[in-house]
Structure formats: C-alpha cells, structure tokens
Symmetry: C2
Subunit: 336 residues, 2 copies
C-alpha cells in the first residue's frame, strides 16, 4: 500500500497515458473534435478504475464560480421551506448547480464567525421570508441576492419572488363572509416580516370596509401552544364572541381548534377556523382545515431561476404566484 490518497486528474492522465489537459477535456465533456474517440474512452476507463472525482475546490478556484447557491430560511422545521428547497434544488440541478441550506439562527444575531457566517463557497444567495434586518452578516459580501416572499419595495432592490399572499387572505375573507360570518378575529403571526404584515393589512382592508362587521386581532408565536392561548383569549374576551378565526398558518389553526374544543365549542358548527399554507397537518387533524395552498416548490424554482438570471446579467422577475383556497371541513355557515 503506497497510500490511498484521492486520485487527481494527473493520476488519471498517467494511467491513461495522456496529459492532464486531455483528461480535463474529456471529463469536462468538451472534446468534440479535439480528442480521438479512442483516447477519450481510455481516459474515461482510467477515471472509472481509479474512482476519480474532481476536486471541487480546485475547480471553483480556477473557474471563479462554485455553481452553488445558498438558500437562507428562517426555520428548517417548517414543511413549507422544505418544499421551497425541493423546487430550488430541482432547477439548480438542471443547470449543474447545487443548493446549500442555511437555517438562519432565529432571533439570535449572525454567527460570530470572524470570516462571515456562510461556510460554503457560494455564487449567490436566495433568502426566504426573512425579517427585515436578518440578512446582516449573510450575503452582504456583495453577492447576488434573490428574495423570496419578501417586500418587493425593500431597499437594495433585490429581485423578488412572491406569493399572492394578499389574494389568499382575500379569498379566505370572502369565503367566510359568504358563509354569513360577521365577527372575526385574526390570529396573526407575531413576526416582523413582509408576509405577515401583508396578511394583517389585507384582512383589515377586506373586512374593515364591510358594514356590520367586527374585526379583532390576536398576535401569537408560530406554534400550537401559543396559538391555543391566543385563541382562548379571542374566544373568552369581553364582547360578543367571534364566529370565525382567520389564522396566519395551519399550525396556528390547529392550536385554535384545540382551544375551541377545550372551551366546548364545535368546529365548524360554533366556530369556523381557517388556516394558511396547506401543510400536511391540515389534513392530519380533525376536522380537516380550510386553508390556502401555497405553491412552495414553484417559489423555490422561480427563486433559483431568478438567481441564475442574475448571475447571467439577465435580471427578470415575473408576477406573483397564485395561491388557492382549499375549502375543507373547518369552516361552515355562521351560527344563528
């Protein structure tokens, strides 16, 4: 055993009896009419035999590009972001790119890594649903940046890929109005983010203008327990009880349903509850949630496409991606 170090293109060249340049040409796939079919085969055989895999660091250094994008998400635990990743990775793969995930440390400031937080060598950043200032310390190395589900009018002017969040909320509101509901509480995610601000504003704009309508709001963290507490507050507070709870996410809706049951209220007979996101949770609980389905994969795919365009100096972003109200069993006619 003279050592089992990783074989280099030099080793492949030696075994195949050719030069490094030829190996690079063949393995790089750009040898049409530059290397004979025979030598090409020999090179490939040698490479296979040695188990050669090119050193990505060297390639990146030489090329100046890593063909890797960083996807920054606020929480890995959330099914939505997993789907965004899937969409982004798909498009990336088609272009020979990889996607690396960076779950932004919530609340806590950027990591104290002296050389910046993103450990991998990357060509660009896709940031999803980030709080206003959460990007400090991430991609301000002047890296190309695409924002997902974020304020299109934010300073910096990064290309944005957005969902029709407002339209989704509008559909929910109209659905509930049509069912005869007039007293609403908005269970709002207590996160300072474009997407949640938009939801609050839209609920207010849509329901505030209808005469005879009452709209309140309860803020809560994005977990079942907090949502439950908030829903209890909403349902036991002073004044007439709301007949519909509009929740900023399926997780919150699940908490709201638990609260209702705990108070002896039936969903949807006594109380309608709507969700947002259409996670698998929406159909896992009982009754199944009326919610808004988000094309998460499409968001990721469009985001990656936008980043690739940016890297090609062809910035172009399309319209908002449509969302769809899915009516299930958690909403029904307002009680008499």
């Amino acid at each position: 055993m003279t050592g089992s170090a990783r074989p280099t293109s030099r080793d492949v060249a030696r075994v195949a009896g050719v030069s490094q340049a030829t190996v690079s040409l063949v393995l790089g796939g750009k040898w049409r009419g530059r290397v004979s079919e025979r030598t090409a085969t020999a090179v490939r055989e040698a490479a296979g035999e040695l188990g050669y895999r090119p050193n990505l660091a060297a390639r990146s250094l030489r090329l100046g590009r890593t063909r890797t994008a960083l996807l920054v998400v606020p929480a890995l635990t959330h099914e939505y972001f997993a789907r965004v990743y899937t969409g982004a990775a798909g498009v990336a793969a088609e272009h020979g790119f990889g996607v690396v995930l960076y779950p932004s440390p919530t609340g806590v400031g950027p990591a104290r890594d002296p050389f910046g937080s993103a450990r991998a060598a990357i060509d660009g950043v896709i940031a999803s649903s980030m709080a206003a200032d959460a990007l400090t310390g991430i991609g301000d190395g002047g890296l190309p940046l695409v924002m997902l589900d974020s304020d299109p009018a934010a300073p910096g002017g990064a290309p944005t890929v957005n969902l029709a969040v407002a339209d989704g909320i509008r559909q929910v509101a109209r659905h509930l109005l049509a069912l005869g509901h007039r007293r609403f509480t908005h269970l709002a995610g207590d996160v300072d983010t474009w997407t949640f601000r938009t939801r609050s504003q839209t609920v207010a704009a849509e329901l505030g203008v209808v005469p005879g309508t009452v709209l309140r709001a309860e803020r809560c963290a994005l977990d079942v327990a907090s949502a439950r507490e908030a829903a209890v507050r909403a349902l036991t507070g002073p004044g007439p009880r709301p007949t519909a709870l509009i929740c900023d996410g399926d997780i919150l809706a699940a908490g709201a349903c638990k609260a209702a049951r705990g108070l002896g209220l039936r969903v949807p007979d006594d109380l309608s509850v709507s969700g947002f996101d259409d996670l698998s949770l929406a159909t896992a609980i009982d009754p199944e949630l009326t919610t808004v389905r988000l094309p998460a994969e499409a968001v990721g795919a469009r985001g990656m496409a936008a980043l690739l365009a940016l890297l090609d100096d062809t910035p172009a972003t399309g319209d908002e991606l449509p969302v769809e109200l899915v009516i299930r069993a958690s909403t029904g006619p307002a009680p008499a």
Copy 2:
C-alpha cells in the same frame, strides 16, 4: 470605478503595506509573537475597510480540507431530520465546520451526475436512516462516513449513532399491556430500513411471547392518508377488532386516529393509539398522542462528533441514545 471585484488577501496586503503572508498570519489568528501588534491592527483595519472575505475555494484547495460535512437525509419534510441537522450543525460550528444537507431523492436511484451527486466539496458524510443500498453514488468516493439510525452490523463498518428504538417500542408495548390490552395491530412503516425492521421485530418479540395476546401488522407508506387506509383495514378486518394500534410514527398515528373517528370509534375509550417521534404534530391533534420522544438533536450532535473523530483518526462511538415514552391522551385502559 475601476471595478468592484472581490478583494483578495493581496489587496489587503497592499493597502496595509505588508505582505500576503503577514495578512494570512494575522487573519488566521496565529500571529502571537510573530507579527507586531501595530501591523496586526493595520492589517485588520485594511481588511475591514475593503470588506475582505477569504476565498473558501482557495483555502480548501491549499488545506486539502473543506471543513464541511454532508448530511444525507431521506426526507427534508420531516421534522425529525430538521432537528438532527440542528444538532449536527451546532457541534460542527464549534469546530469551525459547516454542514450541508443532501435530501436523498426517495426511491429514485442516485442522480445521474457523472461526477457524483454531492455538489459541494466535503470532508465527510453523515447518512441518516438510509435504505440499505441508498448510499450508492453518494459518498463512496472513499469519504469518511458515519451512519445515523442504521444497522450497526451493516457491511462497511461505518461508525453508527443509534437511538434505542427497540427500547422505545418495548416501553410502548408494556404501557399498553399494563392498560389491559391484548389485541394489537402494528401499523408498520413500509420502508426497508433498519429502524423500521427493528420496530417490527421488537413488537413481535415483546408481544408475541405474552400468552393470550394477538398481534397483527399492517404496512403502509409514511403519510396520513396511507395510514388511515391501513388503519381502516386493521379495524374492519375479519376477527375480533384490535383494541390498540401501535404506530411507527406520529404521522401514522394521526391517520389511525382519523380512521377511528371515521368508523365511529372513540380514542382512547374504544381504541388506544400510540405514535413514535414526538413531533409537534403529536400535541397538535386531539387527543394528544402517547408517543416516544426521540433525542433528534443529540443524534445529530453525536453523529457530527463521530465524524470529527473519524477525521482525526480517533474513531469512537458510544452507546445507544435513550428514548422516552411520553404518555398523553391517545392511550387508555382496554375496553371491557
């Protein structure tokens, strides 16, 4: 503007009026007694001013190590793996390592990338809960490999970090036996994986030996709908109805609860249902699930530690990580 290319250590050196070597020493943090305090400060100032960030590709090339690990998971959507990642990333960060996620394309064979699927330059691989042969094409470039939640006796002899899965199942079985249950159906995940095989074997070993006990099994895919169908089969099949459903995951348990409700059975009065994983789903549904809590973060942390040890030629793996039965409302005394 003469161009805003990324500044190199050379640029920093020029601005600070020193040599590249000095810059490297200072910024690398190993200059104690080799560079004067004054020049060190000058270098740091120049670096800050230029917004210098070292080129990771170059550093990796020079060092031969990337300080990056690849975490291969079967499904990103699952909360468990998100927590594993968190644990691994924490330990990694303490050692100046990064962690990159690779969601292995389920079922589908390894990607057809001629150079291997992992796009990032990595030092080692941590593979979690993988099907027997799913690793082909991932890390067999002779990369150091640690397996999580996998057969410790598998060929290849990679270090393994495991949960006490069998003990968890045993706790569930004993809990249900103590409640008087005698007719069980095991809702088994239909995945060819060590963790699921272990569960099946353990259920059989634990319940098969008790006189007067009946144990059946239904296999199903790992989603709510499949679980629901399987539970319906289990509850409506020939012979006396089981009084307890032991599910291979909380998601399956949720499906089982839906099936029960659909059949007019009350949980836990008519039917006890147990889960596994203790996802947030377990407390999101009603009744809350009796389930087995898994120290997912610890698994990730131990896995990363094992990989670091492997890279240091100090292979050492500890014992199985203990799991804990969490008794909630979905299990109760067997009906009379």
